[in-house]
């Protein structure tokens, strides 16, 4: 084996006083080898990003390396002056970031931002820099690179911007690339393309890559070597194949077990009577218009038909912009529809008004995506849950007592008197579930309800949801971008693309034998699916 290009030895990164622990990273060691990808895996707060930033010399203010070495070749980066570190950044070590939307200066053309890399290190003449920019954009596979070079960031999509950031990182042919969750913010098909791109470029250039991720699927897709971190410490490391197939540490095992497997989790439940019926629902957004502007139309939801049986779980799957969330919002009438009917019994929720709407909505409740914005920060959680029944005429005392009972049911006994900021993301999501149950609904629409959670918490919340569903005989409409989650819990799955339903059927059929090319491409793009197949 060749020598490592980067050796990190017993690295300690101190957090400012008053943080939840003294060290973000505590005596961690790992090596990066040319032509190899090291994945550093962990949940939020594990210290994985901090170690990446330390390697770049880009630690946030107040955080510093207190001990250990970071060797790049023969040099120790710890203790270099700002000047010396600046010379290395971009030239020998480069970085790509999580949020492609905010990683580029909105006021500068793409070519100028790439040209800056050369300028920073005093390379090439201005005209050559721009020429190189176009070449680099070609290399990272941007369609029409000459035009992209002249564009501003807001004119490109998320995936395209991430390609620009990669082009920028590659400009000076660095030996080491640090990638901090570079695909987390992207759709699954875009993610697959970017992973592929990173893999190809890394092999071509014999680069060492440090790839930070929380997703074992991604690890299975690209890692040569894996380091698992928990609360600032390394708990397990080894070749990717070994760690994935035979994890030693309980934490690693827990993380891997928590990942939903990509195969239908259950046989479709026997069909029961129809509870809700969606007939030809469409929703078009119109923007602009006015004296001097043309109207722009986006067909968010286009002629969707669906029946939801009692006790059934239906998954609605799609990428961003597929209209899955718009459709979910139509179901609870947070969104008015343009056409079609959504029938609950003989009542149409799309037409209901006033009292009738209030009563219909009690039967169809929603669980929201973002645990941090779904609870009013100024109202005690017990009251938040009780607010619904109170609005429907339940006496306050009784509603509060019911709220306490519900909190206990979702595993948070005695939480009613506390405020939302006292709870973690997973706990808040449980509170959100309790609130949705307070009105004793028949159908629950869960809009990306577990997407914001770490994978181990995600598993617990999914389990709770499943238990409650069975206990209360609820129907569940589960909207998600994550095919693994859908596969695990859904009886039937509907795949949406650009507002249309492209495929609908039992989970086993959609996942094991997809009929539509788009469904196939979605499944194809899931990171780590081959690993899944092996594990199966």
């Amino acid at each position: 084996m060749t020598d490592p290009i980067v050796r990190i030895e017993k690295l300690k990164i101190a957090l400012p006083e008053g943080a939840d622990r003294p060290y973000a990273v505590d005596r961690c060691s790992f090596d990066l080898f040319p032509g190899k990808i090291l994945c550093v895996v962990g949940e939020s707060g594990s210290g994985k990003s901090m170690s990446a930033n330390a390697l770049m010399g880009l630690l946030p203010e107040g955080v510093h390396v207190s001990d250990g070495r970071i060797r790049l070749g023969e040099r120790d980066l710890v203790g270099l002056t700002d000047e010396e570190m600046r010379d290395l950044r971009g030239r020998r070590v480069a970085m790509i970031f999580q949020e492609p939307l905010s990683a580029l200066n909105p006021l500068m053309r793409i070519e100028d931002q790439i040209a800056e890399v050369f300028e920073a290190h005093g390379l090439l003449k201005p005209a050559e820099r721009k020429k190189r920019a176009v070449e680099l954009l070609t290399e990272v596979g941007l369609p029409d690179p000459a035009r992209a070079a002249r564009a501003y960031p807001h004119q490109l999509s998320g995936g395209q911007r991430q390609r620009v950031v990669i082009a920028m990182a590659l400009a000076l042919e660095p030996e080491v690339l640090v990638a901090d969750e570079p695909t987390t913010a992207l759709d699954v098909t875009t993610q697959a393309q970017i992973l592929e791109l990173i893999r190809t470029l890394q092999v071509e250039r014999n680069m060492a890559v440090m790839f930070i991720t929380h997703d074992f699927g991604v690890v299975a897709e690209i890692a040569d070597h894996v380091t698992v971190m928990q609360l600032g410490k390394i708990v397990e490391e080894g070749p990717a194949a070994t760690v994935l197939s035979n994890p030693q540490h309980p934490y690693t095992r827990k993380l891997i077990d928590a990942i939903p497997k990509l195969r239908a989790g259950r046989a479709a439940a026997p069909a029961r009577e129809t509870l809700m019926e969606v007939k030809g629902v469409s929703k078009t957004y119109r923007s602009g218009g006015g004296l001097f502007r043309p109207v722009r139309e986006v067909h968010a939801v286009k002629d969707i038909n669906l029946t939801i049986g009692r006790g059934e779980t239906i998954g609605i799957v799609g990428e961003s912009g597929s209209g899955k969330s718009s459709f979910g919002r139509c179901l609870v009438r947070l969104q008015d529809t343009d056409q079609g009917q959504i029938l609950l019994g003989d009542q149409d929720i799309t037409k209901a008004q006033g009292k009738e709407l209030q009563e219909l909505r009690a039967k169809v409740q929603m669980i929201f995506q973002d645990p941090y914005s779904s609870l009013n920060p100024r109202i005690r959680v017990g009251r938040t849950i009780a607010d619904g029944p109170i609005a429907h005429g339940t006496p306050v005392d009784q509603a509060m007592a019911e709220a306490d009972a519900l909190l206990e049911r979702v595993g948070l006994p005695g939480a009613g008197k506390r405020y939302p900021h006292e709870f973690s993301g997973g706990q808040r999501q449980r509170i959100g579930i309790a609130r949705a149950l307070a009105l004793k609904p028949q159908v629950i629409v869960a809009d990306e309800a577990v997407s914001a959670l770490d994978v181990s918490i995600q598993a617990q919340v999914l389990e709770l949801l499943d238990e409650l569903k069975r206990e209360l005989d609820l129907s569940l409409v589960f909207i998600t971008h994550d095919l693994r989650v859908a596969a695990q819990i859904c009886d039937r799955v509907m795949v949406m693309q650009k507002g249309e339903c492209v495929e609908i059927g039992p989970g086993s059929q959609v996942f094991d034998n997809p009929s539509h090319p788009y469904t196939r491409s979605l499944i194809e793009a899931i990171p780590g699916k081959d690993w899944d197949a092996e594990a199966a």
């Binding site: 770049m56 880009l58 700002d82 600046r86 010379d87 290395l88 950044r89 971009g90 030239r91 480069a94 970085m95 970031f97 949020e99 905010s102 990683a103 580029l104 200066n105 909105p106 006021l107 500068m108 800056e116 890399v117 300028e119 920073a120 290190h121 501003y152 807001h154 004119q155 950031v165 920028m168 990182a169 004296l291 001097f292």
Partner: protein, 322 residues
């Protein structure tokens, strides 16, 4: 771009129309006979003026006809007649406008340049002594009544030190011409323009500093650092350019206050602009002049807003290329 300008022109015209209607309503809501209000103090002196006014503005006709007459007078640039000064209001204002423009534009440039520079320095040295000094000075100027600062400046620089003339636009009866005259005006201009500018400088310091610190936290600044760019280049090219956007917005919002400040400054320094004209009109209860100046100053603010919006579109491609 043409569409943008055209749209804004329509909007400006509508706002001016609304202001005219507002003026009309104010005259009618004022205690007393509208004709007397319009005539101002002159009304006491000569009943004939009142009769003329009644006929001219149809004050005995139905309300809506009166409104129409009033608006059509304004629309043709006829802002009424100052019985006090025996001159059409529009001529009075046009006569005084250049002095006000000179004063406000100088003050604006002073405040913007000083404010942005000081704000950038304060942000770069956040938490250090120079930051505290700049922020404290800004805080003090921000709390100082403009007219009082003007009086104290006169007391110090004109009365005590004798460096600057205490009032006026140029040395009276000096018959300076050419460059000497320009220098003479500049000498008179310094004190009022700086005093007016300092107040607004304080707001620009505060917003520039806050905005620089805010932008410094954004992801693309980290990208720039990862490229190995020098901190000075990052601050200038990435941070300042983004941080200046709220300053432009604020400058637009402050146009109205700048005009208001000019009224006070011109009053103290006897600067012969429309602000001083407004003060004189107040003294003599010359309502036509008062409303005329009000309308014209609103028009000035609208023009200034148009310019800042235009600047914003040039600086920010997200708006330009929507």
């Amino acid at each position: 771009m043409l569409r943008f300008i055209l749209g804004r022109m329509v909007k400006i015209a509508l706002i001016l129309l609304a202001i005219t209607i507002l003026n009309f309503c104010l005259i009618h809501m004022a205690p007393g006979d509208p004709a007397l209000v319009m005539a101002g103090e002159a009304g006491d002196a000569d009943p004939k003026f009142i009769e003329d006014l009644r006929a001219q503005f149809g004050l005995d006709k139905p309300f809506i006809v009166q409104l129409w007459t009033y608006v059509s007078h304004f629309a043709t640039g006829d802002l009424g007649f100052s019985y006090r000064q025996q001159m059409p209001v529009s001529e009075l204002i046009l006569d005084r406008l250049p002095a006000t423009l000179l004063l406000s534009i100088s003050a604006f440039v002073i405040s913007l340049v000083l404010g942005v520079v000081a704000g950038v320095i304060a942000a770069a040295r956040q938490g250090k002594a120079s930051d505290s000094i700049i922020s404290t000075i800004a805080l003090l100027f921000y709390a100082t009544p403009l007219f009082w600062m003007a009086l104290m400046a006169v007391l110090l620089f004109s009365v005590q030190l004798g460096w600057m003339p205490a009032f006026g636009y140029e040395t009276a009866a000096s018959d300076f011409t050419g460059l000497t005259r320009i220098l003479d005006i500049a000498h008179h201009l310094i004190l009022p323009a700086v005093v007016l500018g300092l107040f607004f400088m304080a707001t620009y310091v505060r917003i520039t500093r806050a905005s620089m610190l805010e932008v410094n936290r954004l992801d693309f600044v980290k990208t720039a650092r990862a490229k190995g760019l020098k901190p000075s280049v990052i601050q200038r090219r990435h941070v300042l350019r983004n941080a200046i956007l709220p300053v432009v917005t604020l400058a637009g919002l402050h146009a109205g206050q700048l005009v208001g400040g000019a009224v006070l400054i011109e009053t103290v320094f006897a600067w012969p602009g429309i602000g001083r004209l407004m003060f004189e009109a107040l003294q003599s209860r010359d309502y036509n002049v008062l409303l005329g100046v009000f309308t014209v100053s609103a028009a000035l603010v609208l023009m200034f807003n148009l310019i800042t919006d235009f600047t914003y579109r040039i600086v920010d491609p997200r708006i330009r290329l929507k």
